[in-house]
């Protein structure tokens, strides 16, 4: 299973390096979203700084949807046949695609994080907490995204169905990530970021485990 996952992750990342879709399209998109949010919140920095954690995570979520769409579209319907025919362990395929997705999302988040600090003028109180929250949240997003991506993958209505399916399920990540970041940036209304970080870890663990178990049937259903 691990060997297969490394193989698939390598393949996905190699394709990304060649085609640079995430880097050239999804990243600029997220930055544009950040800028647009800044427009709505007005020129003064105070409301922006306050809303920054939430905006960061919302933007990450939208970018994740795009990244998942891209990850799924790599396997066109013929390639899905090929994937099933290859004899790869489905759990390995899941982990591989999720790992590749996670790598792409992490790069995006570094960019977005820098953008947030730059544009919204926030003060970082504890960078470690920020990073921890990002990592945990991203693992969960990548896992859930890969799952739903494969589920909706073969369908013609995939583009519209995928966000509809993924976003409600990812809501806890949005919530917990925002709270964790608020705590790390020192703008939290009340309460430490710890319980939220734990929630992110639980979400990630649950969805990775679920994906490993259930990806086989999903691949069959396309």
């Amino acid at each position: 299973m691990w060997r297969d996952s490394v193989l698939v992750a390598g393949k996905d990342l190699r394709i990304e390096l060649r085609s640079r879709v995430v880097l050239n399209q999804v990243a600029p998109f997220s930055l544009v979203v950040l800028v647009l949010f800044a427009f709505t919140l007005g020129p003064s920095r105070a409301p922006m700084a306050k809303a920054a954690p939430g905006l960061f995570w919302v933007t990450v979520l939208f970018a994740a949807v795009l990244a998942v769409q891209r990850s799924v579209s790599l396997e066109s319907s013929e390639a899905r046949d090929g994937l099933r025919l290859s004899g790869l362990d489905p759990a390995g395929v899941f982990l591989g695609k999720a790992m590749a997705l996670m790598a792409e999302l992490v790069v995006l988040e570094v960019l977005l994080g820098a953008g947030v600090v730059l544009f919204y003028g926030v003060h970082v109180r504890s960078a470690l907490d920020l990073v921890a929250a990002c990592v945990a949240g991203t693992v969960g997003l990548a896992a859930a995204g890969t799952l739903y991506g494969a589920l909706a993958g073969g369908l013609r209505v995939r583009e519209t169905l995928l966000p509809f399916l993924l976003l409600p399920v990812a809501a806890p990540v949005l919530l917990a990530g925002t709270r964790a970041w608020q705590a790390a940036l020192g703008t939290a209304a009340g309460g430490a970021g710890d319980p939220w970080l734990r929630l992110l870890c639980v979400f990630a663990a649950v969805y990775v485990a679920l994906g490993v178990v259930i990806f086989g049937p999903i691949l069959e259903a396309s």
Partner: protein, 262 residues
């Protein structure tokens, strides 16, 4: 090859009818008790009467309907117990459950308006119920996608399980938010300190009534699904016949061309 469309046995038809009647009667009794017999609350006045149906509806929507949906999905996916019945049960349960979830939101909103002053408040229960509703709508959307019935069943079963796993997570995360909702008094014991006397009995009756309504709707919906699948089986027989006819025509037309002598 496939089983003929089974006529609904008289006994089964009558059972379902009986459930329906019981549901209607108990619901009527609840309404009567709730509106005319029980006293109004000191703080909430007449609005408290919603307590006789709102928590039962919420309970049915989340635990009963979605629970059956998730359970049916697991049983379908697991090879040893796989049978089309579980897929039908899960789908029917979630479909009916969606209605109940929407009703939960509506009754909760109505209840909240005078109490909280707003039609919608971002409290824990309402928010997680709203998310549940969206997840159920997603399930229904998946169900409507045309295609191979087995693939569809598999997709929906997986979607239901993913959503079911998410429900407790959503619940806890939203509860850690500020919550305006009443505590879990209603779900603990019927005779908890905050609700007693005739109110408690009415509440119990409310639970029974709403559950019966759900069960009845579920049975009817199941029946429709069964009929639909039997229809598909009959269509398959027809399709096979047509295919064979087409094959025989082609074989007659095609010349052996020296490949193999009959």
């Amino acid at each position: 090859m496939s089983t003929p469309v089974a006529a609904w046995s008289r006994r089964r038809a009558w059972t379902v009818r009986a459930v329906g009647i019981a549901a209607l009667v108990s619901l009527a009794a609840t309404v009567w008790l709730g509106i005319w017999v029980t006293p109004p609350d000191q703080v909430q006045h007449d609005l408290v009467r919603l307590v006789y149906i709102h928590p039962p509806i919420a309970w049915v929507a989340l635990y009963l309907a979605f629970g059956i949906g998730a359970l049916g999905s697991v049983l379908w996916l697991w090879r040893r117990t796989r049978s089309p019945f579980w897929d039908r049960l899960a789908s029917a349960s979630i479909e009916v459950g969606t209605v109940f979830t929407a009703l939960t939101l509506v009754t909760g909103s109505i209840w909240g308006r005078p109490t909280w002053g707003v039609w919608w408040a971002w409290d824990a229960r309402l928010t997680s119920t709203a998310l549940l509703l969206v997840m159920e709508l997603g399930y229904l959307a998946l169900r409507r996608v045309p295609g191979d019935p087995e693939a569809r069943a598999r997709r929906c079963a997986v979607a239901a399980i993913i959503a079911a796993v998410d429900v407790p997570i959503v619940h806890f995360s939203v509860v850690w938010w500020r919550t305006l909702h009443q505590g879990a008094t209603v779900l603990n014991a019927n005779l908890s300190p905050t609700i007693h006397g005739s109110m408690a009995w009415t509440l119990l009756l409310g639970f029974v009534a709403v559950t019966l309504v759900f069960v009845w709707m579920l049975l009817v919906r199941l029946r429709i699904e069964t009929l639909e699948q039997a229809l598909e089986g009959a269509e398959l027989d027809e399709a096979l016949q047509e295919r064979w006819a087409e094959g025989d025509t082609e074989a007659a037309l095609a010349s052996p061309a020296g490949v193999g002598e009959p």
